[in-house]
């Protein structure tokens, strides 16, 4: 889940190995492609991404 703190710096898109994230002012995760490796979560400088069960 991407929260309101996301500004769209795209660190998550760049580090995502599955190419599951697209960023246009804000991150959007493709749940089909996401393997929940959490790389985006640890790279996000604003702690704006959370994994929801």
């Amino acid at each position: 889940m991407v929260t309101d703190s996301c500004v769209g710096c795209a660190f998550c898109k760049i580090v995502c190995k599955e190419f599951a994230i697209d960023v246009l002012g804000r991150a959007e995760v493709d749940r089909e492609k996401c393997v929940e490796c959490k790389l985006c979560v640890i790279y996000c400088p604003l702690e704006a991404i959370r994994v929801v069960e």
């Binding site: 500004v7 640890i42 790279y43």
Partner: protein
């Protein structure tokens, strides 16, 4: 003597090196899994994209950062751009020279400078901009947008004059070979040679103050005592760690958008800046692969474009930027690798150019460095001036 550095961005690592050289036992705390903040590389499809900066040092190896790195014994190869820049105006490209503006406009600029120096009358740069020729007007917008992510109504003439003087003195940009990360890696190696330590994924949770001095940093579950604390996270965030506000004025950040573009053939063809004057938003572009081909996969080029954010509607700003790029790159095959916005807590600059409050705080052993406390110069050269000031005080 022990020093804690909060944040491992360029400012934090420069400060760490300065203090280590002075004999401090230095510990750097970084919340993210990598060092370098908004001045390092992130690899994407074998392109060396950046976390923020444009693989460029505003005044190349001659400027404040280049000199500071040399003084610290940090060996980074910086290749000065040749030409320094070009303008794209009325679909016509022209190399930038000292005589960029018509004689009349330059004379007006000198006259205004004199009025400021003699009478101390200061005013916003926009007031000057209104009275000059169309080319100079647009060039000023492109220059301010590219280098500072601001417009002429954001900056006082006096502050712009200082940046203009720095640019005349040190000239145009340079590209660090290996990109931003090469600077960061060399700084880390140098710090480690002094036995300084960097801890990644360690977020500083609080700074503890006692008797008007900062005493301890709270990281993970430990409180550790330090003689000096340097914060690389800007005055605003530093206040939050202390739990008490000390600033009297509100700091305004600058926002912008960066586009990383893959090309099969060079578009700019050199390592200087192409200032775009025919656009709605894009201020300029650079193509650092002309000097360091390793920043892109074999045979490819990395073009980076930057625009300031003139409204708070990010999607609208991006739509205008993309429209500009389509026009600029007409006839070229290109792929947009990433669009990165910098605003709201993760900005281009934590404090807009010309509004910096300096590196000092009410606590005489707490300093703030980085783009939240620059000296009067562009981007990382402004950061270097803040660090030089730190070295003078400590």
């Amino acid at each position: 003597m022990k020093a804690a550095i909060i944040g491992s961005g360029l400012g934090g690592l420069l400060a760490a090196n300065v203090l280590a050289k002075k004999g401090y036992k230095v510990e750097v705390f970084e919340k993210l899994p990598f060092a370098g903040g908004r001045f390092t590389n992130l690899t994407y499809k074998d392109f060396e994209l950046t976390t923020g900066a444009l693989h460029m040092i505003p005044h190349g190896k001659r400027g404040p950062l280049g000199k500071l790195l040399r003084d610290l014994g940090v060996k980074v190869e910086i290749v000065d751009s040749k030409p320094e820049g070009e303008t794209l105006y009325n679909n016509n490209r022209e190399i930038l020279t000292k005589k960029v503006a018509p004689f009349k406009t330059l004379m007006k600029f000198y006259a205004k400078s004199l009025v400021y120096k003699v009478f101390g009358r200061d005013f916003y740069l926009s007031e000057f901009q209104k009275r000059i020729d169309e080319f100079s007007k647009k060039f000023l917008d492109a220059f301010l947008g590219w280098s500072l992510s601001i417009t002429s109504s954001d900056i006082l003439f006096s502050k712009f004059l200082k940046i203009y003087q720095q640019t005349m003195k040190f000239k145009g940009p340079g590209v660090p070979i290996g990109g931003c990360k090469a600077v960061i890696d060399r700084l880390i190696e140098n710090l480690e040679s002094y036995n300084g330590k960097i801890y990644l994924k360690r977020k500083a949770k609080a700074i503890i103050v006692k008797d008007g001095k900062v005493k301890e940093v709270f990281v993970k579950n430990d409180r550790t005592k330090y003689d000096v604390i340097v914060s690389n996270i800007g005055h605003n965030e530093t206040q939050k760690l202390i739990g008490k506000d000390y600033l009297r004025t509100e700091l305004v950040e600058s926002s912008g958008i960066k586009y990383s573009i893959a090309l099969n053939e060079p578009f700019i063809g050199h390592s200087g800046i192409l200032f775009t004057l025919d656009t709605q938003r894009i201020s300029g572009l650079n193509e650092v692969t002309n000097v360091d081909p390793n920043l892109a996969p074999d045979g490819k080029h990395l073009l980076m474009a930057h625009q300031p954010m003139l409204t708070s509607n990010v999607k609208y700003e991006i739509s205008l930027g993309l429209k500009d790029l389509k026009e600029i790159l007409k006839g070229y095959e290109y792929e947009i690798l990433a669009i990165q916005s910098y605003t709201d807590g993760w900005p281009v600059n934590r404090v807009k150019a010309g509004m910096d409050v300096g590196i000092e705080t009410p606590y005489n052993n707490l300093f703030v460095v980085g783009d939240g406390a620059k000296g009067d110069d562009i981007e990382v050269d402004g950061i270097a001036l803040g660090i030089i000031r730190l070295g003078d005080i400590i």
